[in-house]
C-alpha cells in the first residue's frame, strides 16, 4: 500500500481534557530512516511516541506501522516494534542474559535464536565481557546499552528511542549513536528518536520533524532545515555587562530586522540572523561606542540548535 513508508499518520488527534496534545497531525516516515522529533517540553513528543509504541490510543485519525493499523492490529504491530523508554527498562537483580532471555521469550523467540542474537548484540554494544554479571553492578552507560540491545533483540522493523542518551557522558553518547546507526544501516531498521541533544541528530538523523503545540511545523533533512532558516550563527563575548547595559543592548538588538532570535547574557550575546556580516559590524560598532570591552566575536553557519532556537525559544531570552 505505501511500501516506501514505515510509519504514516493521518489527521491524528489526541486530547487530555481541554489540552490538545496532537492536533490533526499527519506525518510519513520513510523505511530505514533515522527520524528525529524535536520540540520543547509539552510539544507532543511523548504523546506521539507513546501512541506509536501502542501505549495509548488516538482520539481520531489513523496510524499505521509497516502497513498495520496500530489500533486494530496491535499485537502484530508490537511484534514489529522495539522501544527504549526515557527511563531504563531492565531488572537489575539479574544478569544481562537473564534480561535478554525474558525479552526474547516475550517476543516468542526460541532459546537458540535468543542466544545467537544476544551474543551478537552484546558484542556490538561491548557488553560481552560482563554479560554474566549482575546488571546492578553496571555503569549508567552500560545499563543504557543493554536497554537498547534488549529493544533490538527481536530485530524490530521500527525502533523507538525516547531520549536514549539522557544522562550519558559525551563519549558514551557518541559510541551509542555509532552502534545504533551501524545496526540501522545493516538491518534496515527505521529509528524514531526524540532527544534534546540536537548536535547528535545533526550527525545521525536522515529526517527531522519540528513539533510544537501538537502540530508538525516542518519536516526535512537536517541540512534542509538549516538552509530553510537561511541564517548565520553569531556570537559576541565581552566583559561583564551591568544591567543597564544589558537593557540597552537588548533594545538595540531587538530593533535589528535581520535578527531572527537572540539570547543576551552578562558575558555573551548569541544571535541567529540573516546577513550575519552586517549584523556583526553594526553590533561591534554599537558595543565599542558604549565602551564595552569585546573579548571575541564569531560568525558561523547555523546549526540544528539554531533551528531549534529560532522556532521554539522566545526572542530576546536572557
Amino acid at each position: 500500500m505505501c511500501a516506501h513508508y514505515e510509519i504514516t499518520l493521518n489527521d491524528v488527534s489526541k486530547t487530555f481534557g481541554k489540552k490538545i496534545a496532537l492536533d490533526k497531525m499527519s506525518l510519513k516516515i520513510k523505511k530505514g530512516s533515522i527520524f528525529g522529533l524535536i520540540g520543547p517540553n509539552g510539544a507532543g513528543k511523548s504523546t506521539l511516541t507513546s501512541l506509536l509504541a501502542t501505549l495509548s490510543l488516538p482520539d481520531g485519525g489513523t496510524v499505521t506501522i509497516s502497513d498495520l493499523d496500530v489500533i486494530s492490529q496491535v499485537k502484530q504491530v508490537r511484534k514489529k516494534i522495539g522501544i527504549t523508554f526515557q527511563g531504563l527498562s531492565i531488572f537489575t537483580t539479574g544478569t544481562a542474559w537473564d534480561n535478554l532471555l525474558i525479552a526474547g521469550k516475550m517476543n516468542d523467540m526460541n532459546t537458540s535464536k535468543i542466544k545467537d542474537r544476544g551474543e551478537y548484540l552484546l558484542k556490538e554494544f561491548n557488553l560481552n565481557q560482563v554479560s554474566n554479571d549482575l546488571v546492578g553492578t553496571y555503569s549508567g552507560g552500560m545499563k543504557r546499552k543493554l536497554d537498547i540491545a534488549i529493544s533490538l533483540l527481536h530485530k524490530p522493523e521500527v525502533l523507538f528511542l525516547d531520549e536514549p542518551t539522557t544522562g550519558l557522558d559525551p563519549e558514551s553518547r557518541n559510541i551509542l549513536w555509532q552502534i545504533i546507526s551501524n545496526i540501522s544501516d545493516r538491518e534496515g531498521t527505521t529509528i524514531f528518536v526524540t532527544t534534546h541533544y540536537l548536535e547528535e541528530l545533526n550527525n545521525v538523523a536522515t529526517d527531522i520533524a519540528l513539533i510544537n503545540n501538537g502540530k508538525i511545523l516542518d519536516v526535512g533533512t537536517p541540512k534542509e532545515l538549516i538552509n530553510k532558516l537561511a541564517a548565520d550563527h553569531i556570537e559576541i563575548h565581552f566583559s561583564n555587562l551591568n544591567s543597564s547595559m544589558i537593557q540597552k543592548l537588548d533594545e538595540y538588538v531587538s530593533n535589528l530586522v535581520e535578527v531572527v532570535n537572540y539570547t543576551i547574557k552578562p558575558r555573551s550575546l548569541i544571535m541567529i540572523g540573516s546577513k550575519g556580516q552586517q549584523i556583526i559590524s553594526k553590533l561591534l560598532e554599537f558595543l565599542i561606542r558604549n565602551e564595552v570591552e569585546i573579548e571575541f566575536s564569531e560568525l558561523k553557519q547555523a546549526t540544528l540548535n539554531d533551528v531549534y532556537l529560532a522556532n521554539f525559544t522566545e526572542k530576546g531570552a536572557k
Partner: protein
Amino acid sequence: MNNISLILLLVKKRLTPLIKNPIGILISMFQPLIFLVLFGTIFSSVFSTSGFDNTSYVAYILPGILIMNALFGGIYLGMSTLDDIREGIFSRYLVAPKSNLFFIAGDLVYIFIFQMIQSFLLVVIGFFLGFKLPSGIIHPIIFLMTPALFSCIIGTISIGIAVLTKKHSTMISVMQFLSFPLIFLSSAFMPSNLLPKWISIISWINPVDWVVRASQSTFNHSLAMNYYLLIVLSLFIAVFFCKFTYDVQRKK
C-alpha cells in the same frame, strides 16, 4: 513452549533474590509466626472452653495462621509489581506482543511456590507446638495448597491495585485497611459458634473465612467443596480484574 519458558523465567526473576538471601523467607513470615507462638501459648487455656473440637489451641489456629501468612504474602505481591513499574520492566510488559495473562501467571506461580515453602515451615514449627497434619496423602497436600491458592487470589488483586495506583503509600494503606479486619472477622482464631453474632454474620462474606473453613475441612473425611469452588471462582474473578487493570493502561 515459549509461553511456559516465559512464565518460568518470570518466576526465576522473582525467586532469585530469595535464593540469594533465604533469610527473607523467614523474615516475611515473622508476624504470623509471632501470632502462632504468642496466641498458641497465651490462649491455650481457651482450649478448655466448650466449642473446640481440636486437641490443642495451636492445632485449631494453625490453619488460620497459614491463611494469615498467605494474606500478607499476597498483599505484598503488589509491591513487586511496583518495583517492576519503578524499574521500567512493566512498560516492556505492556508493549510485548503477549497476553498480559502470562505476566500475571508468572507472579502467581511465584507466590504459590513461596507460600508452599512458608506453609511447610510453619507446619514444621507448629508440629513442635502440638500440631498434626491431616491424615492420608491427598488431604495434607490440599491443606498446604489452600493458603497458597488464597495468596494467589489476594496477590492478583494486589497486582491490580498496584497497576492502577502505582504508589507504595496507597498499597500500604490498602494492606493496613484490609489485613487485620479480614483475619479477625473470620473463624481463624475462634470457631464461629463462639464469635459474637455480628462477626459471625460478616464472616459469611469474608473470603478469609471461606479459606479457613476449606482448610479446616481437610481434617475431616470429606472436603468442603463449596468453599473450594468459591476459592476457585474468586481466583478467576481476581485474574479477570487484574487483566483489566493491565488492559486499561493503554490510555484512551
